[in-house]
């Protein structure tokens, strides 16, 4: 019998069966996240199911992050409903301003190595960076977890992505992820897991792992998992092998309106931008802001006519930026600082771009209308490439503005 992938091992442990790709298993979850985007509907399902008590409230957390702060009476009432339910059942609530649920799941240790941790939001795949099987679920799934603590899952085949070499100057984790998106396509990993491997994956800083895991869903993947406590067997079977030599990469940009419409930076140079967005569960951590700040300062500040919006992924990130002077730098650079949370990423709150505006963003999605205006165009890139665009007022090569 061949060995198992990391995903097969974790789902075997959580289902009590020897799980193989293609099997459908019912698993006990170790942790679950609901956001203000998905939980109100989950509470409707829970009530319709006849739910009264929550199965294991200690394993569940709610994040008020998509509407943070609430931009309307209706969304404020969604928060009220979540707070009331959570208080009655003893569920943790991450309040408005504490940050993006995914970042908080990682910061708080609720996403743990070897665990099965799910979230009612597609970017729950982010926690794969800590070696847990992490995947996005729907509101009805979350309701079932509130009912019985379990979920049905189809065990995915895995694609092994082997990273080698080291990143050259000016090239970052986002560029690796965009290279992978271009290689696999927007559905190239559909119904499958992505398992990162190789010496460069083992050396990759934790923040960079979060970026790669986070973007796995943009290739359709069920998860994007790094080795750690749980490792794959040497004779595990993979559906596909992909090799990425990091030293060969250059900065990249995803063009509107698809994440896999990726070009090397040279083919996007000079595209004018009017809004630059730094934040989200992909690019809103302290290291991202440090890198962007360094380019902005080296380049002499933000070009006239460019709105720079900064939204830290969590209050802890904001506190770090306040402590180390980065926040003051961004204020001096004229940035608009948003409350920690999802911000402008999906148009649920925060700054919305105007008609005809080109935005370059550290986010994970650039679908038409994503940021709240279908007449705007969104480009995706690393924090330094976004910062370089802010300096020039147009898409520029960050390697030419070396800090």
């Amino acid at each position: 019998m061949p060995g198992q992938t990391i995903s097969e091992k974790i789902l075997s442990a959580k289902s009590g069966r020897h799980a193989r790709a293609g099997d459908v298993v019912v698993c006990r979850v170790d942790g679950a996240l609901g956001t203000d985007g998905s939980t109100p509907m989950a509470l409707d399902y829970f009530e319709a199911m006849g739910g009264s008590g929550v199965h294991d409230p200690g394993r569940v957390a709610f994040a008020l992050d998509h509407y943070a702060p609430a931009p309307s009476r209706h969304t404020a009432q969604l928060h009220q409903r979540m707070r009331t339910f959570a208080a009655r059942h003893g569920i943790l609530v991450w309040e408005v301003g504490e940050g993006i649920g995914h970042q908080l799941m990682v910061e708080s240790g609720r996403a743990m190595p070897g665990g099965l941790v799910v979230g009612a939001d597609s970017h729950s795949v982010t926690y794969g960076a800590v070696n847990c099987f992490a995947t996005g679920i729907g509101s009805s799934d979350l309701a079932a977890i509130l009912m019985c603590g379990k979920i049905w899952l189809k065990v995915p085949p895995s694609i092994r992505v082997t990273l080698s070499g080291a990143l050259p100057r000016g090239v970052f984790a986002k560029d690796i992820a965009l290279a992978l998106a271009a290689e696999l396509g927007a559905d190239g990993a559909a119904y499958q897991a992505i398992e990162f491997a190789g010496p460069a994956a083992a050396r990759l800083p934790f923040d960079d792992r979060l970026v790669l895991s986070n973007l796995a869903v943009e290739m359709g993947a069920k998860n994007g998992i790094f080795p750690g406590l749980i490792e794959a067997d040497a004779d595990a079977r993979y559906a596909r092998e992909v090799f990425i030599a990091l030293h060969e990469l250059v900065p990249r940009v995803a063009l509107p309106h698809q994440v896999d419409r990726v070009v090397e930076i040279g083919r996007a140079l000079g595209t004018p931008v009017q809004m630059v967005y730094l934040g989200t569960c992909t690019g809103g951590r302290a290291s991202d802001f440090h890198q962007a700040r360094d380019i902005l300062k080296a380049g002499g500040g933000v070009a006239r006519g460019v709105q720079l919006v900064v939204t830290p992924a969590s209050r802890a990130v904001l506190e770090t930026l306040a402590r180390d002077g980065t926040l003051a730098d961004f204020i001096a650079l004229g940035a608009v600082i948003g409350a920690p949370g999802c911000g402008s990423c999906c148009g649920t709150c925060g700054a919305i771009p105007g008609d005809g505006v080109n935005v370059i963003s550290t986010a994970n999605r650039n679908f038409q209308g994503r940021m709240g205006n279908s007449a705007a165009s969104i480009y995706l890139a690393s924090p330094v490439t976004c910062a370089a665009a802010a300096v020039r007022g147009a898409i520029a090569d960050p390697r030419e503005i070396a800090p």
Binding site: H74, S140, W152, A190, S374
Partner: protein, 170 residues
């Protein structure tokens, strides 16, 4: 199940099915059904007839996991989506709401084609215009159990928990 094909292309994301901005003001499928696909075809919602089936290419329902992208479709009276492939969150949300996801080669289906979804002897789509029978991927027993119940809500009303899929096999 018989209905008229309403054809879309590849990579139809959940924001195209129903925009996040509509979701901000209501979660009611009977409200949201009026805005289905408005980003890519503003006339679509008004043209839906009972029994219509959605047909799409690859990666239907990619992007956000938001479940209103399924409930708004169910709310419009659509009972199945036929696609070359689905984004996995859309697929599981469909199962959990009793919307049948049919994975098959949908490339030959044209707008308005009369389709019949056949369950026996195996899942397939009969295109009555072309006469073709398109073989579809089979569904595991637990997914049929949830779909046949009408979704996770009636399933949990009946069972109160997940019952072993092997016991629910027909």
């Amino acid at each position: 199940m018989t209905g008229r094909a309403r054809v879309f292309g590849d990579d139809i994301n959940t924001d195209y099915i129903i925009t996040s901005r509509r979701k901000r003001e209501s979660l009611d499928p009977q409200v949201l059904r009026h805005y289905l696909f408005e980003e890519i075809n503003p006339c679509f919602a008004a043209s839906i007839a009972p029994g219509d089936l959605i047909v799409a290419g690859r990666n239907f329902g990619c992007g956000s996991a938001m479940e209103v992208a399924v409930t708004a479709v169910v709310g419009a009276g659509i009972r199945a989506v036929v696609a070359r492939s689905f984004a996995r969150t859309y697929y599981r949300n469909a199962v959990n709401n009793g919307l049948l996801p049919v994975v098959c080669d949908s490339s030959g289906i044209r707008e308005g084609d009369p389709l019949t979804v056949l369950r026996a002897p195996s899942l397939a789509v009969h295109n009555e215009r072309s006469g073709e029978i398109l073989a579809a991927d089979s569904l595991p027993a637990i997914m049929w159990a949830i779909i046949d119940a009408g979704g996770l809500v009636p399933y949990f009303q009946k069972h109160g928990d997940f019952v072993d899929a092997r016991e629910t096999k027909e």
